[in-house]
Symmetry: C2
Amino acid sequence: MAVTHTARERARAELTLEIKDEARRELAQVGANGLSLRAVARELGMVSSALYRYFPSRDHLLTALIIDAYDAMGHAVQAAHSPGDDPRRSWQAVWHAARNWARQHPHEYALIYGSPIPGYRAPQDTIAPAGRVALTLTEQLTRVAGTLEAEVPVATLNRLLIAWTQLFGTISFELFGQFVGSVDPTDSFFACTTQQMADFVGIT
Amino acid sequence: MAVTHTARERARAELTLEIKDEARRELAQVGANGLSLRAVARELGMVSSALYRYFPSRDHLLTALIIDAYDAMGHAVQAAHSPGDDPRRSWQAVWHAARNWARQHPHEYALIYGSPIPGYRAPQDTIAPAGRVALTLTEQLTRVAGTLEAEVPVATLNRLLIAWTQLFGTISFELFGQFVGSVDPTDSFFACTTQQMADFVGIT
DNA sequence: TGTACATCAGTGAACGCGCGTTCACTGATGTAC
DNA sequence: TGTACATCAGTGAACGCGCGTTCACTGATGTAC
């Protein structure tokens, strides 16, 4: 990737970011299906056709948002893990980082972990980032679990997968409103689950 | 509720069912956001305004579908549990019943356990059925877990809640495509999870 | 059983709206000499 | 450094589309006497 040096290139890069930011704001109000190029353009004071200089179609913009969301979630999780820390502390840190990111970006979370968007077919581009988050997480969980790469027994791996599912299951239930009225407040339940799952995968 | 006896009343009840059935078919193709009264009417060979004799608005139709979905899921789960059975068998039956219903009605599942529909505010009417499913499930899980009502220790209850979250977390991951490429096929993983969770809550 | 009136299901036209995308254009920015 | 040409960002009008909802209407079904 060449460094952007002309004014044009700088402007283009900046506007691309602004469009995505505005689209994220839009997303929060109307959801992925309701995301409209015209609304984004309107909010930016541009004419809708101008957006086509930046994204060839609505779906391409959506794809960019999805990739960004995966990356952001991945980084949040990665940043929470400082190797060398106490394993149980690390485990807690990772779990809470995932939950906090989701709570701070509920609509982007829904974009990547919610129900599929009808009519939208995920292009190849989104698969890599998706896998990266999953891998980052399981890798970290694995490392935290004390087992060294390449020799994780199947049983442990299975338990890690269950923990992984549990993490996102809990977050989704909280964000999508399934806990309302039964598990309230959710903070203590989440903390408790974190501990239980740490025990479950055998963290010392 | 009076029994329907006039031809009018019978016709009305039937058409109401037909409208909902067609709406469910529509749902499968375009999702909750894309559900359109006009498309439903078109498919039924009616004029769109005629639907207003049956549902006062698009949202009311959606609400009806949501309530139906909760009820269907609830019944599927309830039917799977035959009291007096071996606890572990019962546990398995309930878990697989939930998963099977979800796999057979993925769009209705998404409707009730997926990301919230933007712009749609769940009326009171949907809260009761939602709670009923949760209650049915936890009640059955509790009974299966061998503890008799009213004296469930907090720790056990917590573990049951975790299992409940795990069940739907796993189903959602499977249906929403998060397992693609990593946990494939899902059958064996689900079976394994079922057992692990049975152990986890202490089923003999 | 037969008639007079009330109820209600379904029609068809219309309202006002927002959408994604295309296209010929203008004017500013960048490049080669 | 200055000029001639190429590139590209943004404009504005237009296309064709589907949507939810309202309304005055017609004709069939139901009810009271």
